[in-house]
């Protein structure tokens, strides 16, 4: 093993398009980095900002949200909600001191195994370049400090 940073990623995939696109990448034996664990929801519109924050809190360095192409949503327009919410999510993360490139929104159809491969590969490299986030350590340290009463409420480091 070399000692390059291996980012830990979560990918929320909608069941109808992107999850099947990921399946197609598999069936086609397309290779991509192993850093991302997929989590399935029915629609990308189900993804709540708290899911993304939870992923970062648990130690994720980047979060991918992937859904059907505009117009292709199995639920008519669920992915438009996703698209509308995403810039807000990025803004929220920026306000919390995160680089907004740590989240990425992509449209991957059930026929786009190659695109899925490409997206995960690129995203892994993108987050590798950004480096570790370490929110899990920060949270756990703060929790430990809180228990010992040593926490000082100062500005959150950028």
């Amino acid at each position: 093993m070399n000692d390059q940073f291996e980012p830990r990623l979560i990918g929320f995939l909608c069941r109808w398009c992107s999850y099947n696109g990921a399946d197609l990448a598999g069936t086609s034996r397309l290779k991509y980095p192993p850093n991302m664990v997929p989590i399935k929801t029915n629609c990308s519109g189900r993804i709540d900002p708290t899911h993304v924050l939870k992923a970062f809190q648990e130690g994720a360095d980047g979060v991918l949200i992937a859904g059907c192409h505009p117009g292709d949503c199995h639920y008519i327009n669920g992915n438009y909600r996703t698209a509308a919410r995403f810039p807000l999510l990025q803004k929220l993360l920026e306000q919390m001191g995160l680089d907004h490139d740590r989240v990425r929104l992509e449209w991957v159809s059930a026929a786009e195994g190659e695109k899925f491969q490409q997206v995960v590969t690129e995203f892994t490299e993108q987050i590798r370049a950004l480096g570790p986030l370490g929110w899990n350590k920060q949270f756990h340290d703060e929790a430990a400090d809180a228990e010992t009463g040593a926490v000082e409420h100062e500005a959150v480091p950028a």
Binding site: T27, V37, I39, K40, T41, D72, A111, E112
Partner: protein, 657 residues
């Protein structure tokens, strides 16, 4: 959490998973995880002995949560959930961890694949304690079926369904059913007359009491779900009363607008503004084309059609009609379009006379076509030499990558027809590979070789009128490299037939969107699984057949139509169908009644209860997207099967390894 008893089963899938993932290592690790009471590995979990492992542990060890680490849930989740259910466990207490498509098949390194498999598995182990027992929602099924598209695929599906006594709506956008097959002259390799084998089926579909034929109609909107689709169909105004019109054709003979290019004849023949597309049309009824009819354009016309029409069937005031239909299943058979060779400028289609498409040749060679079946050039003379160019717009990275499957064979058929009509005419087939894959096809190819057709192995480079010798003067020159001889040849021809590939219908993408499924990269409708569910789509209750799925010949189309009809029948022959219970619910105690979710629901499945001041989910209308769950500021709506706690637990599990 109370003490759940989780069982973990790790499938080798032969070497598909075990070839990359250290199954023993992951299984041993899984056995140590909280709540896991047993972890087993097995060569093929989907086999009966594999399923029996699950059943035995549920019955003997009292396992109450199961995770199967294997292939995609799309593949075998129903299999394992059924096994759990058979052993008395609620099927929604079983989760699958996709360690094949999402792990072993996509990861190069064995150690990395093993670590990723642990993370994927752990996500499900963490999720399971939060899973609840759910019961599928059982809904009634409307026994009627809609077939969209009235080509050979749609006709065949409609007839098969009707034979079982089901009500069928057959929707066709053209004035007549019949599709492309009705335009063909002969069919390969048997040389059956296309009309002779198709028109009896068209006629049967038109007369069938169970089939309601909606020609000149298009689907506008679709709503509902499996077993209960609500479809709006626009029946376009024909400006002719179809109840009284007898199809005698007197109106089209009387019409003063006589030079409209006939769609059915590929523009080679002419029709009137009021017309019957072809003599065997079903329904045999006249239609006025509003773009060309003088009266409908607001111009002066003595309306000789009205005078000619005995039953007084012409009605210039007729309006489109929108029908609201309810069906339990839908078969999509919307067909293909011939690839338009205009962009392939090297072949001079549309630039030089007598460079024609295959469909144009079908009409020229057809006895009911614009030339009465005489194979002639534009000047009325029979060609002395014909070149047939294969793979136009097919197997070409500039246009369409796919092989259109039928062109080799229909090209051979053309050669035969030319040789039959004009034995002295030289016929050249310029091909890349000869794909004669079907029953009797190779034999047909061999027969054509014996009929004296010249086969040149090579893709034609260009078609021009540039003559280099006096013999080439005034003729079409096909330049082609004969790759078997290693020379460039110049083939003089009087007619060049471009064997155009099959392309998806121009509106395929938007039609697929309307019906809630997708298209493949090549633009044809995407099937649910290429091998196991080739006639299903991701939308339960919607099936596909024929060339809308991918180019195919008539035998395959008819076979697929039968399969799609069987799929639809297997659904609508039941009184009820079970649908996923993963829908939203709103706790009225917590809802503050802001109603933000109401406007966001894509299916209008949330209504305001003004009396109680809360939002309520209409269970029958909710399809389970979860948009309302993510939208609520107070986190009140929750989605069964995708609860926040379940998603959080998955994240924790995935990140804990």
């Amino acid at each position: 959490m109370p003490d759940e008893k989780i069982a973990v089963y790790f499938c080798h899938c032969g070497s598909n998973i075990a070839g990359k993932v250290d199954v023993d290592k992951v299984t041993a690790w899984a056995a140590e995880q909280p709540n896991v009471v047993v972890a087993r590995e097995y060569k093929y979990m989907c086999s009966d002995p594999g399923q029996d492992l699950i059943k035995d542990d549920i019955e003997k060890l009292g396992v109450d949560r199961v995770v199967v680490a294997a292939c995609s849930p799309t593949m075998h989740e129903p299999t394992f959930r059924k096994a759990a259910s058979d052993a008395g466990l609620n099927p929604y207490l079983l989760q699958m961890a996709n360690v094949r498509e999402h792990c072993s098949w996509v990861t190069e390194d064995k150690d990395e694949a093993t670590e990723k498999a642990k993370r994927i598995l752990n996500a499900q182990i963490h999720r399971l304690p939060f899973n609840e027992a759910l019961d599928p929602i059982e809904v009634p099924v409307n026994p009627a079926v809609m077939v969209v598209g009235g080509g050979i695929a749609g006709i065949e599906a409609a007839l098969k369904l009707s034979a079982t006594g089901k009500k069928v709506y057959l929707v066709e956008k053209q004035p007549s059913i019949g599709g492309h097959m009705a335009m063909f002259d002969k069919t390969f390799p048997t040389l059956d007359c296309a009309a002779c084998i198709l028109t009896p089926k068209m006629s049967a579909a038109g007369k069938d009491p169970n089939i309601e034929l909606l020609a000149y109609s298009e689907v506008e909107e679709i709503d509902g779900y499996v077993g209960n689709f609500k479809v709006k169909v626009r029946r376009k105004a024909r400006y002719v009363n179809t109840d009284t019109c007898t199809g005698c054709g007197a109106c089209q003979d009387a019409c003063v607008v006589r030079k409209v290019p006939s769609e059915f004849d590929q523009g080679l023949g002419k029709r009137s503004a009021i017309y019957i597309p072809f003599p065997q049309a079903v329904p045999l009824r006249a239609t006025i084309d509003p773009v060309n009819c003088l009266t409908l354009k607001g111009k002066k016309c003595k309306q000789p059609c009205t005078t000619a029409c005995g039953p007084q069937a012409i009605d210039f005031d007729q309006q489109d009609e929108v029908l609201d239909l309810e069906v339990g299943a839908i078969v999509m058979a919307t067909g293909f379009e011939l690839w338009d060779p205009t962009p392939e400028t090297r072949y001079s289609y549309g630039q030089l006379d007598n460079v024609i498409t295959s469909l144009e040749f079908e009409r020229i060679s057809n006895a009911s076509g614009p030339t009465g079946g005489h194979i002639v050039c534009k000047n009325g003379e029979p060609p002395k030499s014909v070149a047939i160019l294969h793979c136009v717009g097919s197997r070409d990275e500039n246009f369409q990558e796919h092989c259109s499957r039928v062109c080799c064979m229909y090209s051979l058929k053309f050669s035969h027809l030319i040789k039959e009509h004009l034995p002295e005419t030289d016929v050249y087939e310029c091909y890349i590979d000869m794909r004669a894959y079907g029953k009797g096809y190779e034999e047909f190819y061999k027969r054509l070789m014996e009929e004296g057709v010249h086969f040149i192995r090579g893709r034609a480079a260009e078609v021009s009128s540039v003559a280099l010798t006096p013999e080439e003067e005034g003729r079409l020159i096909v330049k082609v490299e004969d790759t078997l001889l290693g020379i460039v040849r110049r083939v003089p021809a009087d007619m060049v037939i471009l064997s155009s590939g099959l392309a998806p219908a121009k509106d395929a993408k938007s039609v697929a969107q309307t019906f809630g499924f997708g298209c493949s990269a090549n633009g044809f409708y995407l099937e649910r699984h290429p091998k196991l569910e080739p006639v299903s789509t991701v939308t339960d209750g919607i099936f596909i057949a024929g060339c809308c799925q991918f180019p195919k010949d008539i035998p395959d189309t008819v076979a697929q139509a039968g399969a799609a009809a069987a799929g639809a029948l297997a659904l609508v022959d039941n009184a009820t169908v079970k649908v996923e219970p993963t829908i939203s619910y709103i706790d009225p105690e917590k809802c503050c009644g802001c109603h933000i979710c109401v406007g966001l629901c894509p299916h209008a499945a949330i209504q305001c209860n003004e009396e109680k001041g809360v939002a309520e989910v209409i269970e029958a209308a909710c399809k389970g997207c979860g948009v309302c769950v993510a939208a609520c500021g107070s986190n009140v709506p929750q989605q069964r099967g995708y609860l926040d706690q379940q998603i959080f637990a998955e994240i924790e599990g995935a990140m804990a390894v």
